[in-house]
Amino acid sequence: MPSSRVYPGAHVGRRVSSGHLFKQHEPFIAHPDPRRIDLRASVLDVFGQYRVRVYQQHSLIDVLLLADLSASMGQNKALLLASLDSIAGSAFSYGDRFSFIACGGETTPRYQLSHCQQRGALQAFSKQLQTARFTPQNPTWQALLPHLPNRPSLVFLLSDFHFDLASLAPILPQLRQHDVIPLVVWQTGDYENLPEWGLASFQDSESRATRTLFMRPALRRKIVQNFQKRRRHLQNFFRRFGCEPVFLQDHFQAAQLQAYFLQRVA
């Protein structure tokens, strides 16, 4: 199961191999590597057997952030940059490698940062991303697949998921070997913080269609209900693929992710 591999916080790898950190002594029979024979330990051994030093494997994990760059995400740009900073920062502090792939309407990702381990490179990329153009089409998730690593990785899927989920359904099974965490970002201004009374016109960021609504409390309640329904629908959808979405509202809060990971262990 993919989720069993992820633990919150830094921890040592359980595998032994050619690392730098001494782990324990093992009988020579178990690890037949004559270079690692520890003479002092072998002499002290009560059974007169050879003892071999074994080391912890130096274990790293790839952290990926796949971000939706369709036009509807335009209002979430600040959140996108904040999550990029935060997730990459925590990956760097554990020595993990961070990759970022933007997914817009085109067939090849426009913004891509691969296997980055330096803050400087990240900052330069972040600056570049600030002027990013958001495409007026739905994201083509299919385009991401060739750019994903083969090794099991931690994959964050950052989007508002304001599109038909049928386009995402064939992609998720192919991410099975990874640990996928969908980050659903919504602005409360789109539902809870709508005005109570008045005439407002809304234009779809992607299709450019407009709808004029006579806002009133009953209608706003209906919209909030729609979002709650959508939230349940998204949860059910992602649970079918063995992942649990995280809902971020307005701002990126690292604490929310922390709580999410802690919850998974419990």
Partner: protein
């Protein structure tokens, strides 16, 4: 109802009326996904109303600019009345009183009395078509046959201007008869001659008048305003040598009218009261069904257009104040 434009090329601007179909005037704000917004019938109705209102406002403005109006029309009407031509004497003597003196405040002049009584007469007969002709030395064309009461009253009041010279009755009669020429033969046709004297009719005119009276099927009323001590129309001269058209034109005009073989009635009025009596007589007699065309003048509708545009724009402005920004 026929509508027409003063400057039709303004109508090309009606194309602008489709603009609200593309923009309903409410500043749209970006929204991630419209599917999340419910379809609300109330909002849809308001949206349609807004677009329709804006289109109508633009159309009304353009129609106003193009000068929309209703063209002049005529309407067929049937009333009880007559076609009456008032033939008024404008000779000098009409400005004198019945006593033959200059009016001094106590007595009114014959012209003033005639004006007053004719005004009342016209007011009592709402369905008549009236025309006015005057004569002095030459005939004066004043007003063709019309049902416009204001114009008739104005024409009668206009006789308050000082009178002119002599009396040339045959030309006046000719003009009065001429007024009926192009009128449909409907209702009775009356010539009401108001005069205080007469003149001899020369043989040429006499022949033509005889023909015209017959052809036009006229009923003639003569209101003779007799001045004191002047010969009346029914009087026979004591001296047979005086019995000629030159000496007694009134009597000979009366004889001429009587010989026409048309309905003819002469009233000899010697005071304003007698004149009123005569007019009341005519008023009573002439009530036949009358079939005529009432003219409806052109009506300018651009004012209405601007009024509508103002109302609609006010509505749109009110809606604009009701707009909210996210």
């Amino acid at each position: 109802m026929t509508l027409a434009m003063d400057t039709p090329w303004w109508l090309a601007a009606l194309v602008l009326a489709v603009l609200p179909l593309f923009n309903n005037g409410i500043q749209p704000s970006a929204y991630p996904w419209l599917v999340m917004l419910p379809i609300d019938p109330v909002s849809q109705a308001i949206s349609v109303l807004l677009r329709g209102g804006a289109m109508a406002a633009i159309a009304a403005l353009v129609l106003g600019l193009a000068g929309l109006h209703q063209t002049g029309q005529s309407r067929e009407r049937i009333g009880y009345g007559a076609n009456i031509v008032l033939l008024l004497d404008r000779s000098n003597s009409m400005d004198n009183t019945f006593a033959g003196k200059t009016p001094d405040g106590a007595d009114e002049s014959k012209a003033t009395a005639a004006r007053r009584l004719l005004s009342d007469f016209v007011r009592q007969r709402p369905h008549d078509l009236l025309g006015i002709a005057e004569y002095s030395t030459a005939p004066l064309f004043v007003l063709p046959l019309t049902d416009n009461k204001a114009a008739i009253q104005a024409a009668i009041n206009a006789t308050a201007t000082p009178a002119l010279a002599y009396t040339h009755v045959s030309k006046g009669l000719g003009m009065a008869l001429d007024m009926f020429k192009d009128q449909p033969l409907s209702g009775s046709r009356i010539v009401l001659l108001v005069s205080d004297g007469a003149a001899a009719i020369d043989p040429d005119s006499e022949l033509q008048l005889r023909l015209a009276f017959k052809r036009q099927n006229i009923r003639l009323y003569w209101l003779f305003l007799r001045t004191a001590n002047s010969p009346g129309i029914f009087e026979k001269p004591q001296d047979p040598r005086d019995d000629n058209a030159g000496a007694m034109p009134e009597r000979y005009l009366h004889l001429f009218f009587s010989s026409l073989n048309i309905p003819y009635q002469a009233y000899q009025a010697e005071s304003p009261d007698a004149m009123q009596q005569a007019i009341a007589d005519i008023n009573r007699l002439e009530h036949a069904p009358l079939h005529y065309l009432e003219r409806i003048p052109k009506r300018d509708l651009s004012g209405d257009c601007y009024l509508w545009a103002t109302g609609l724009l006010a509505m749109l402005l009110a809606v604009k104040f009701f707009e909210v920004k996210r």
